[in-house]
């Protein structure tokens, strides 16, 4: 054995290394990654495709998200994003109790549809108690009632080349110099045809409230909250979303979030 004591030199070394570590984190060395055009960031983004491939590989196409019991609903569903749209068209609909609301289904479909809320409600509905997971990290359990998106899509009939379902919303989420940007989101056919993917018009036993997306919002239970567009105005079936927004498939996707939000 030999002896070793903490000398002043060791203490200095320790301090120096600690300082170097703190500086490494402290300096803005990695801030370039925040730039959407940064090549390293673009490379890292490819991990999302790996995640999607891995999860889709593991998942049965129709594997259900966990469903809960009525007693698991312990609080109102926490609203997020836009909670009270002030867009003129929307405000008019709220005033008339959505009696003149019409959902349009168009794009790569054989029979474009114009559906009133009453027509949607008369279709076979699905009721599910699920956990809503926000990208911020919180979760909230609520019951959702709606018509499966697959039912609506089957009624319209998909045309060849139909790959994505684009949801166009009433709410202006961002005001820019070139005007307002209304929320938009896309999902692919695997999620669109999933039994738990519904156009919800009811929540916790009553009509869907305005803060949670009245009259119609999407539920995509195997992904995070930002995929579940609220205040749906129109559905378009498309073969690509390159022409939508900045081309990444959704409002938040165009601001750096992943298109596949299963994690």
């Amino acid at each position: 054995m030999y002896e070793r004591r903490i000398t002043r030199r060791t203490a200095l070394r320790l301090g120096g290394a600690g300082l170097a570590t703190a500086t490494l984190g402290g300096c803005k060395a990695f801030d370039r990654l925040a730039d959407p055009a940064n090549p390293l960031r673009r490379y890292m983004e490819r991990a999302n495709r790996l995640t999607m491939a891995a999860q889709r590989g593991l998942l049965d196409r129709d594997a259900l998200a966990q469903e809960f019991q009525w007693f698991d609903i312990r609080q109102p569903q926490r609203p997020n994003g836009v909670t009270n749209p002030q867009d003129a068209e929307y405000v008019t609909h709220v005033a008339s109790g959505f009696s003149d609301y019409r959902l349009s289904v168009s794009g790569l479909v054989q029979r474009p549809q114009i559906l009133s809320l009453a027509e949607l409600q008369s279709m076979p509905t699905r009721r599910q108690i699920t956990r809503h997971d926000c990208v911020e990290g919180w979760s909230c359990i609520a019951q959702w009632t709606g018509v499966p998106l697959s039912t609506v899509l089957e009624r319209a009939g998909l045309r060849p080349g139909a790959r994505f379902v684009l949801l166009r919303c009433f709410d202006t989420i961002e005001r820019s110099l070139s005007g307002g940007i209304k929320y938009y989101e896309t999902i692919d056919m695997v999620d669109a045809m999933h039994p738990q993917t519904i156009l919800a018009f009811g929540m916790n036993g009553s009509a869907l409230p305005v803060p949670n997306g009245a009259p119609l919002r999407l539920r995509v239970e195997r992904q995070l909250g930002y995929k579940m567009a609220k205040y749906i105005r129109a559905i378009e079936v498309v073969d690509s979303f390159s022409g939508v927004g900045r081309g990444r498939g959704g409002y938040w996707e165009d601001r750096g979030y992943e298109w596949y939000a299963g994690i």
Binding site: K28, A47, L58, A65, Q66, D133, V135, G137, S139, G262
Partner: protein
């Protein structure tokens, strides 16, 4: 004070595979911890159960008081940017998992696990002495890992890494559909999130301790060993 180094022999201590795995984990952990704090800042409250209590109280830790809980120097990137934090986090999560799987396979096949990391009866007998010498800041340079080294490395590789991966996956809504039992056994998604944070804190603690040990026990020798494989052992080793 300075000891003659001539009769302390250089030996090949770490294989290339060990060194690559070590630096793969080191880099991944740095980015995962920084981006993890960025993600945490988006909602700096931890809960117990399936959901987050807004209409009831199941929070066990609330940091930040409305603002970001962790300062800019601790997060990657430094500004408030959840989207970038997530991209960095999942990229390095994949790296960590790949390196762990490759290392485990190699360590099993090569016998590294059995030869160098297995806690032997001799290790258990000398555990007390090892603790005492650490308490006196004496760090012998041996050919093999000491009992405390073996225990701490095994804790990271076989407890903390698997737990941090499992609790991370338990937060994924996609994984929840594939394996509903995962958040279930961890006590619900929000408990899994709390666990993920605690295990990450333990890993951060390991990193700090590990670097302190390296600095206290001849940093140049340790650094050379982990970069080139060559390590100078004490006399009589």
């Amino acid at each position: 004070m300075r000891r003659a180094h001539s009769n302390r022999r250089l030996i090949k201590r770490h294989t290339l595979a060990t060194r690559l795995a070590h630096w793969g984990w080191a880099v991944s952990l740095l980015f995962l911890l920084g981006s993890g704090l960025q993600i945490f800042n988006a909602h700096p409250v931890l809960y117990i159960g399936d959901q987050s209590g807004f209409g009831f109280d199941n929070a066990i830790l609330s940091l930040g008081g409305g603002g970001p809980a962790w300062p800019a120097w601790a997060t990657i990137p430094s500004g408030v940017d959840l989207a970038t934090g997530r991209i960095v986090h999942f990229f390095f999560a994949w790296i960590l998992v790949f390196v762990l799987l490759l290392w485990l396979l190699g360590a099993l096949v090569s016998g590294h696990l059995w030869r160098n990391l297995r806690l032997t009866a001799q290790d258990l007998r000398s555990l007390g002495a090892d603790i005492r010498s650490h308490a006196r800041f004496q760090f012998p340079h041996r050919r093999t890992y000491g009992p405390l080294q073996k225990l701490s490395y095994a804790a990271v590789l076989f407890i903390l890494f698997p737990m941090v991966i499992a609790s991370g996956l338990a937060m994924s809504p996609g994984m929840n559909a594939a394996a509903p039992w995962l958040p279930e056994v961890l006590g619900g998604r929000q408990t899994a999130r709390t666990l993920h944070f605690c295990v990450a804190a333990a890993l951060a603690g390991f990193v700090v301790l590990h670097i302190s040990m390296v600095l206290l026990a001849a940093p140049l020798n340790q650094m050379r060993a982990m970069l080139t494989g060559w390590y100078r052992v004490d006399e009589g080793e």
